[in-house]
Every structure is written in structure tokens, then in C-alpha cells.
Amino acid sequence: MARVTLLYFASLRDAAGTGSEALDTDAPDCAALYEQARARHGFALPRERMRVAVDGAFARWDEPPREGSEIAFIPPVSGG
């Protein structure tokens, strides 16, 4: 089990009703962590359209959640 903080933006923030949540997870990687959060909050976006960032830097989906890390699920961007 690792204690992590998840960050939600844009439509994910709306669906989750919060911009972040702290939780203990046994997910083997960030991909599984997203699928769990998606099931829990009903996110519309499939993982294939998302990116993941760990501690403020883009990361790989197969990275395991590390104790104390901040994990952000990044929906398709629309700046500009």
C-alpha cells in the first residue's frame, strides 16, 4: 500500500467534485490507479486519451505509485 495524492482537472474535477484526494492504493501502476478512480467517479474519458504526471512531470502509465507522490491525470488539453 502506498499513500498518494491524486489531482483532478477540468471535467475530471467536476466529475469527482474535488480537485484532489489523498488515498492509500494497492494499484500496481498509474494505469490501474486511473481505472479505479474512473470507476469510482464515473470519468467519461478513457485512459487512451489521458496522460499522467507524477510530482509535476509527465510520467509513464506503467510507473508504480510511490509513497507520498502526487499523481495528476491529464485530460486532453485545450489552451490557446
Binding site: F9, A10, A53, V77, S78, G79
Partner: protein, 160 residues
């Protein structure tokens, strides 16, 4: 992230890219790009327009993952200087509530010649739109509203 006014010359990385939570002045940002070796300057501004994809828009809100947006934005500007041989460049993107006609994003590039200035400027705004974690929430005239999560190559991708 910066409040207005814009970052000063001493603020290091904010010279390259910054997220602004309030309206900012372009003039001092442009002045910083002036250079005796520069013969060319290209700039881009994205303004909030009154329509998108055929729908009337009343205004919008931008949200950013500020820490990552500023890091990725700086990477883009540095890459552009290197790739196109431009002399200097800067990009600032707004977050928060914006009305029709408000400035959403500004890019400025100075270079010895105009090809490098234009190419770098256009590449920066293209990459910012594609890579920087900023999201647009549009308020439509019909009362509807929504987050824009465009598909990478779809014709439904909105944008300036």
C-alpha cells in the same frame, strides 16, 4: 503563476513562459525581446471570440495545472529558440474567467530574420495548444457550458 503585472526581467524562468491569473500588459514583454541583432519580430495573440464550432460563446474560463504547465511551457520556448535559431521568445497564457475579446495567450519572438521569427512563433503556439496542461471551459449563449477535451487530430478540435 503570476498575478498581473507581468514578470520582470529578474524573474528567471518566467521570462520564457508564464501563467497569468489576471490581465497582463504586452508592451513590457515585447520590449524585453528588443535586440540590436534582431531584424525581425513575430507575435501571436489568441483572443476570446464570440463563437466556436458554430456555437455562440458568451465567455470562458481557463484552468491550468500551473506547476506542470509552466515547466512544459518553458521547455517549448527553449526548444523553439534552439530549433529555429531565434534570439529570444516569450509566451504568457491567462487562466481564470475571460470575456469576449480578452487576451487569452500571447507569444513574441525576435530573430535576425523573419523566417525564424514566424516559424518559431507559430511552432510555440501550436505546441502550447497541444502539450501544455491548460483547459478551456466555454459558456454558451444558450446557457450550456462545457470543458473542451479535443481529440488530437479530429476536426472537432477547437482553437484559435
Amino acid at each position: 503563476m503570476i498575478d498581473a503585472p507581468v514578470p520582470g526581467p529578474g524573474e528567471g524562468d518566467a521570462r520564457l513562459f508564464a501563467i497569468a491569473s489576471r490581465p497582463f500588459d504586452i508592451a513590457p514583454l515585447r520590449t524585453r525581446l528588443l535586440n540590436d541583432r534582431a531584424g525581425a519580430y513575430a507575435a501571436f495573440e489568441g483572443w476570446v471570440r464570440d463563437h466556436n464550432d458554430g456555437r455562440a460563446v458568451r465567455g470562458l474560463r481557463y484552468e491550468a495545472y500551473v506547476e506542470l504547465a509552466e515547466a512544459e511551457g518553458r521547455r517549448i520556448v527553449c526548444e523553439a529558440l534552439d530549433r529555429f535559431g531565434a534570439l529570444d521568445a516569450c509566451c504568457v497564457h491567462r487562466v481564470g474567467e475571460l470575456a469576449i475579446g480578452e487576451l487569452a495567450v500571447w507569444v513574441g519572438v525576435s530573430a535576425a530574420h523573419r523566417a525564424a521569427a514566424f516559424d518559431a512563433c507559430r511552432w510555440i503556439i501550436d505546441e502550447v495548444k497541444a502539450r501544455v496542461p491548460i483547459w478551456k471551459h466555454e459558456h454558451y449563449a444558450d446557457g450550456d457550458a462545457g470543458w473542451l477535451h479535443p481529440r488530437p487530430t479530429g476536426s472537432t478540435a477547437p482553437g484559435t
